[in-house]
């Protein structure tokens, strides 16, 4: 469980998070949606202690992320940012193996190797294991990064725009894999998602933000309404039921 209590954050004069309080329950997929600059990524970064909050606090399994020891927290919570350009040259296997660092501190055990292989298999990276990251396509690279976070074996997984760089096929594949992580492995997955329909089709809960504030949160079906989407995105959106899913259509 992730408890966010009246978190505020400003960059200079701009208030990017304004008194956000939110509880993300254990299990399932929660998607953060909102327009550009709504504060989704910042909220995710604060929750993952990548960015310090100006006020308020975030607790993961009861631990305050600002004060909990890094290695302890890293066994409970994994995070992937949107930009992951690295100046070092790694193979896929080396990158994924870093996911075991919080557990083994750089000396991999046989169990670690098994988990690395498992994570690579889960994201269909087996044939690419010994390729360098700079020899992969954007989509393959993205899968490798997510595989690293999965390999970390944390109950909570926070991903900022995991569908970045992915074409339709790989986006669907990625969402299925994340769905599997939540359903089969019992992980709590929190995503920042650009496309509200992806959030609608694959997540259990939606958290909607606008201008640094929380607009609404709840089960996906309840939030996929024209009124709420207009409020969040400032644009008229029709919501249609297609094959049991609610799809927003803004192009009218």
């Amino acid at each position: 469980m992730i408890e966010i209590e009246s978190v505020t954050k400003s960059y200079g004069d701009v208030r990017v998070l304004d008194d956000v309080s939110l509880t993300i329950p254990t299990g399932g997929i929660t998607s953060l949606v909102g327009a550009n600059g709504a504060g989704k990524s910042t909220l995710l970064s604060v929750a993952a202690r990548l960015v310090p909050a100006d006020g308020g606090r975030v607790r993961v399994d009861g631990m305050d992320v600002a004060t909990a020891p890094g290695p302890v927290l890293a066994r409970r919570l994994g995070v992937l940012r949107q930009e992951n350009a690295m100046s070092v040259r790694l193979t896929v296997r080396e990158l994924v193996a870093f996911g075991r660092f919080p557990h083994s501190g750089g000396r991999l055990t046989a169990e670690d190797h098994r988990l690395v292989d498992e994570a690579m298999a889960w994201f269909e990276l087996g044939p690419l294991a010994d390729r360098h990251l700079d020899q992969l396509s954007g989509g393959q690279r993205q899968r490798a990064y997510v595989a690293m976070v999965m390999c970390q074996g944390t109950d909570h997984v926070l991903l900022d725009e995991p569908l970045n760089n992915l074409d339709m096929r790989h986006a669907v594949q990625m969402m299925r894999m994340l769905r599997g992580m939540a359903d089969e492995l019992g992980r709590t997955v929190v995503l920042v998602v650009h496309d509200v329909n992806v959030a609608s089709c694959y997540s259990d809960r939606i958290v909607a933000m606008r201008e640094g504030r929380l607009v609404a949160e709840g089960p996906t079906a309840e939030l996929m309404t024209p009124e709420l989407l207009r409020k969040v995105f400032d644009v008229e959106v029709e919501v249609h039921e297609l094959a049991g899913r609610r799809i927003g259509v803004p192009w009218s």
Partner: protein, 326 residues
């Protein structure tokens, strides 16, 4: 594009590369110690052994400091020297000669001179890092910018003071400013060796965490590394190592950049446990080889930094041209 090797094949190749480097270094060292000995072997070995020891100390200090500095600043082009260390050293010497006179500086107890230089350089580094290393990674760039600005300031001050110096004393000063292994004091050498050994041993425990820090701040924090603490410790180590190396033999600007990048390239990894020994061996190879060339080919009519920078520059540029990076 290189062929895809499996992890065990890569590890085997890294080991081979390191062994080849070690053997090459041994050969050059043996040549350095034995070539062209006339007269007493005892005396020759003692003299050359001392120079060799100085080169080993400097090689380790330069290699370790550059690799660490590049890791924590997350780039492959900056070196600690860019932070103005070299130029501060030059300024200290110049001001020393100007205020005390060349005679006083050159005849003063070398240990005292060494101690003053090391303390000033470490103090400078610690002050710079302490006051500037804030919370975010962007601060690294502020730090580097400040280093560059300070470096230019030191150079300008040096120029100003050296114009005021008596021309005869200026010649003495120039001798002090070229990296030289010919006149290293035995006690200074021992002290430097101990300092470098202690710092390197302390750094060794940080290596797995530094491997993670090299992935970038966010990834490192996500993997539970106390990023700021590791970076601060690494920078302190860098300050001490650079100060010791510079005070011991003078400025060797280019060597670190060369060996750190060559080691990564040859070993095909960024893992510090591989890169540090590789870079140190390369540095020793370059210094001893350079000194050998200097003594045998040029008959001491040149300076080691010129030889190292000339050969190093060519190797480095050819590396850049051969392997274009996207």
């Amino acid at each position: 594009m290189t062929a895809v090797l499996t992890a065990p094949q890569r590890a085997a190749r890294r080991r081979r590369t390191l062994v080849v480097l070690a053997v090459l270094t041994l050969v050059v060292v043996a040549a350095f110690l034995t070539v062209d000995v006339t007269g007493s072997w005892d005396y020759a070995l003692q003299q050359r052994g001392r120079r060799l020891a100085a080169m080993a100390v400097v090689a380790v200090a330069v290699a370790v400091s550059t690799v660490l500095f590049q890791t924590v600043t997350d780039n492959r082009i900056l070196t600690p020297e860019i932070m103005g260390f070299d130029r501060l050293f030059v300024l200290i010497q110049t001001v020393g000669v100007f205020t005390l006179g060349a005679a006083t500086v050159t005849t003063a107890d070398p240990r005292l001179r060494f101690a003053v230089e090391v303390v000033v350089l470490i103090g400078f580094g610690a002050l710079l890092y302490r006051s500037l290393f804030g919370r975010t990674e962007r601060d690294v760039y502020v730090l580097v910018l400040l280093g560059v600005v300070l470096g230019s300031t030191f150079t300008s001050l040096t120029l100003l003071v050296s114009r005021l110096i008596d021309p005869n004393e200026f010649l003495t000063l120039q001798d002090l400013l070229f990296a030289s292994f010919n006149s290293v004091d035995r006690q200074m050498l021992a002290l430097s060796a101990v300092l470098v050994a202690v710092v390197t041993a302390g750094v060794w425990r940080l290596l797995p965490r530094l491997d993670v820090v090299a992935l970038g701040r966010d990834t490192a924090v996500g993997l539970g590394v106390e990023h700021r603490r590791v970076v601060n410790r690494a920078l302190l180590a860098v300050a001490v190592l650079v100060a010791v190396a510079t005070a011991l033999v003078g400025p060797i600007t280019f060597l670190g950049l060369l060996v750190a990048n060559l080691a990564r390239q040859l070993l095909g990894t960024h893992r510090h446990a591989w890169v540090l020994p590789g870079a140190a061996l390369l540095a020793l190879l370059a210094l001893v080889g350079g000194q050998l060339v200097l003594e045998q080919v040029f008959g001491f009519n040149s300076s080691l930094s010129i030889v190292v920078n000339f050969v190093g520059g060519i190797v480095f540029i050819s590396l850049l041209i051969r392997e274009p990076r996207q």
